[in-house]
Amino acid sequence: MSTLELREIRKSYGTLETLKGINLNLESGEFLVLLGASGCGKSTLLSMISGLSDPTSGDITLNERRLNGVHPKDRDIAMVFQSYALYPNLSVARNIGFGLEMRGIDRSTREKAVLEAAKVLQVDHLLDRKPGDLSGGQRQRVAIGRALVRKPKLFLFDEPLSNLDAKLRLEMRSELKRLHQMLGVTVVYVTHDQIEAMTLASRIAVMRGGCIEQLGTPEEIYNRPASRFVAEFMGSPPINILATQQTERGLEIASGAAVLKDLRPTDPVVVGIRPEALKTQAFDGAITLSGTVDLVELTGPEQIVSVALNDTRVTATLPADLPLALGQDIDLFVEPNRILTFDANSGDRVECLPH
């Protein structure tokens, strides 16, 4: 069953078009992440779903009901803000129950619902405090509780974790995931953090310049990116993009550091290789890249190695226990099917089938 449907959503501020026709279908229980750099329109899109602003054109429907022009309070949605947006002068209990209070729910029902939501989020011991007395993580839990308590059809999250420190962010991320699995609610989640998107989403919409560049499962987005932009946006360290040349030997990578014999694309292409696709052990059918070790960064579980190939460099994530010395010669092996090819001009991914 389709819950949220966006059709040809456009938004213009004067002559500036920030959203250029967004189409999306969201199934019930789905966790959709809108991912993109700042200014790509993801937050604008979210605020239009919430009703805090209206699209210039296009339709928003939630459970078959057209939402254009409907006040946020009548949309059956809840939103968690990046700034938490807790009411500083009200107690935690009143913050969580505010939506119910405004809807005229009687006191005993409200208190029961607040306590229930607070227990789910483990803030039930803080109900009498003011938001100012809470830590960042607790504030975020309260903000989520405020959204949860009304049992809305749709949850909106606007970069909810970006104000937390790294360790807390990790904790809250797992918690959000667990919460989503437990409650089976439908979520639209905005972030610029690709790891958050990968870990949380059931589907990711990568946005760029007011358009959805690619919509797919995290696995699709990561392994079969629709364009060079998506490939470079996802993954850390970022994907290696290497220039190619057509020669009679085949497709030469990085001024001849390696040759892809079978690939004969019709248009100029660049290739993308994920750092973790590069191995140090040879295997059948592997493409070999030969170079010298240029830089080694140990992260703990692995080392990020920069390898100089002729006039360019590639980054490889290799096991931490591999002994490596600067300037040492090294051979890197990669499976041909893990090499992505992109049109050099348009950036779209192209399938170069072996001839």
């Binding site: 805090l52 947006a85 500083p88 003011k130 104000n163 937390l164």
Partner: protein, 281 residues
Amino acid sequence: MEHQSRWFRLFIHLMALLVALIILMPLAWLFVMSISSNADLSAKPLRWWPNEIDISRYATLFDRSDNSAGQAFMASLFNSIKVAGMATIAAIMVAIPAGWALSRNPRLGWVLGGIIATYMLPPVALSIPLYFILAKFGLLNNVFGLGLVYLSILAPFVTWLLKSGFDPIPKDLERAAAIDGARLDQMLRIVILPLAMPVIATATIFAFLLAWDEFFYALLFTSNQDAKTLTVAIADLAGGRVSDYGLIATAGVIAALPPVLIGILMQRSLISGLTNGGVKG
């Protein structure tokens, strides 16, 4: 706080003491004058502390018998409280929605510019048109008429002050309240106004003081005990052939009390930092 040497702390305290002295000296002198006898006040060289304490002037001013100086003075005191109180309350009522609207719609900034521009006009320029308007509505020598004039002075000033008080309150709070289903009045009453309380209190004190101390319009638009305010009444005390400086000082001391009282009452709300904690970490 970083480490400060003993001498530096001493220096800071001395400076604070100096500032306090500069501010409090005239007040202290006013009080000393009010309890000095006329002989002490006119003695040469000047006595800094009177030989005998004379509180008879307080009795004079608090005297309620008919046609006494005290009756006129007390009437003007109540007129001042009425006029300044009404004008302040009305100004705050007008300025809260106006200031909030201006704060949330930066495109209306030119309105604020216009308000500031009217402030540039000297009161003299406005006095004649205002006089005609008040005369037309029969509001000359009337506390409501004077209150209306003060409202026109206070409302722009308070609006401007409250606008800057609303500015730092995050808009996300209003968005959250809108999604939570709060009506506009609920959002303002429960969420926004409590956070703006320190600024509202400050604005109230300043507005009250401004109306309390106003002299020019009060002198022009009032003529007797029905509407005459304190500032005019005090000037009347100095107007005769003989000026009793002690009496003027006594009136000054009494006139200073209501604003001080309001300041003490408002002090609680002035505690800032209420906005801490609602947003971000």
